[in-house]
Symmetry: C2
Subunit: 355 residues, 2 copies
Amino acid sequence: MTRPRNDTFLRALLREPTPYTPVWIMRQAGRYLPEYNQTRARAGSFMALCRSPDLATEVTLQPLARFALDAAIVFSDILTIPDAMGLGLQFVEGEGPRFERPLREEWEIRNLAPPDPAEHLGYVLDAVAQVRKALAGDIPLIGFSGSPFTLACYMIEGKSGSDFATVKKMLYRRPDLLHHILDINAQAVTSYLNAQIENGAQALMIFDTWGGILSHAAYEQFSLNYMTQIISGLTKVHEGVRVPTIVFTKGGGLWLERIATSGCDAVGLDWTIDIGSARQRVGSRVGLQGNLDPAVMLSSAEVIRSSAADVLASFGAGNGHVFNLGHGVSQFTPPEHVRVLVDAVHELSARYHVS
Amino acid sequence: MTRPRNDTFLRALLREPTPYTPVWIMRQAGRYLPEYNQTRARAGSFMALCRSPDLATEVTLQPLARFALDAAIVFSDILTIPDAMGLGLQFVEGEGPRFERPLREEWEIRNLAPPDPAEHLGYVLDAVAQVRKALAGDIPLIGFSGSPFTLACYMIEGKSGSDFATVKKMLYRRPDLLHHILDINAQAVTSYLNAQIENGAQALMIFDTWGGILSHAAYEQFSLNYMTQIISGLTKVHEGVRVPTIVFTKGGGLWLERIATSGCDAVGLDWTIDIGSARQRVGSRVGLQGNLDPAVMLSSAEVIRSSAADVLASFGAGNGHVFNLGHGVSQFTPPEHVRVLVDAVHELSARYHVS
């Protein structure tokens, strides 16, 4: 048994009792922290930072030195898999991710193969192992990946877009090609996440950042089904401890019931849904993670505390809630505001838990 | 009584019987039509086209000459009101709308005043009157405006953005200022829409393009409440005929029940919601408009027909459905595909209506 000393995060995902509501923050190791920016400057580039297990470990631990967070998440990017497939991930300053060789031709799609994690993604696995060791059993470590559909969006468009017209055109014109990409991606994500477990990840999160652009019918066929396939292939228990999985589809609030049947242990929520009504809909089947509007973090300590109190009150008494933002923390968030949030969640949530 | 000869659109909004499901297309007068691009080139710019009642009338009528649409919508922009307030609307090629003088200082916000439609938006009212005359009683004419919150997004940011951080920062830091802008906007939209009715609009649509970025709590306070206020101030019956109102919040599927209580006659749906489940939730109280994924229009005649059939079947038998896309038609849509859609909706929907 290798449960961390603070296992509130793992217990909440499995709807087991905890003395308070655990909290972590999406992108907690990131640009809002001056020490992160210093390490990144030393690395030279975002990808160099990702590719160095030492530096990735360093930035993973930075927010933990500042705040009483209940989980760590390995510093990496959601697009490491397509990069390992040879598409050439780049980060252009101020523009976000871009692939040098996006999928344009049918033969390129037919030639795709799931990368061997040990061979092509060893830098992530090494970072996972190093972070796990550095955590020394204090709090659990989260591993993650982009969802097959979200990876496909970037692989086909080459970059982020507001409407992903190329992806959706393929979806309606050549669903066979898109399914082929998604199938390869699902195989790749499964091996990648299992390798992260093998190297020390104690919980997993699948980021389906773009599933929300799909129609209700297409979401199931082109995103959810592949996440379900991944989850069915994941190692469920490692070193005698259950490894819970979180599925987060941004904009997926309408589809909660279907997401809850994916086999995941918990569902991530963005800020557009009332977490109390989400709990009514699926809270007897899965844990819930979320869902403060990240923009609240740009306001004031008072507004952050009262907004956190609203989310906790909406979830109400009982188990199964991991507090988080509804999306990644903004680079413009004052670090002090993260402390205010983390402390407020711990303090204000105790009343909702029976000891 | 001045009901149009084809009043299926108006009847469907009010959930009255029709022999088939009426259809129109958001942005049906637009860049996918070569004749539109010719008129726009003649106008010199998008704003010149909007400001010329003759040319606006010309492009409004263009799709009606091609397709058997059941409603016309006056050609204009959702941002005419802030332009009339003096913010200076511009369209930069390939970038979308931009204001020369976005709201930056508190005194600028305190100085805002609702423009007199006759004085500052006469070009839109003239276009409404001319189109109404040109339609000669064949099909109804829709007038429209952006929602107070959607206008505020552009007024504060100065342009479209993916996260509207400035607006949301104001929302959480200075809600009083944002409420002031929204209150002025709501007054402005009310007079503007009533003036459109006075000049010939037979139905109204409020486009809440950005309400979906709000949290569930903020949506009600900062977007829905102001739309409710507008609707309560609108002329309900003109020339003896009821003037129905449609509210469309893109990304608002989770909030349908609340939108249905705004006083609107129908709710516009984007493509992320199943229209059958939307009908179960609110269809006894309001009509529904939508909701084919616009990306379907980039596929093939067969896929368009079968996808339209799916939407019709999901709504099922009975009244209260206006067919539309879930968002504006893409400029890359082949015009022939719009014909396929319109004809398919008319043909395939008859079975769902008792004569």
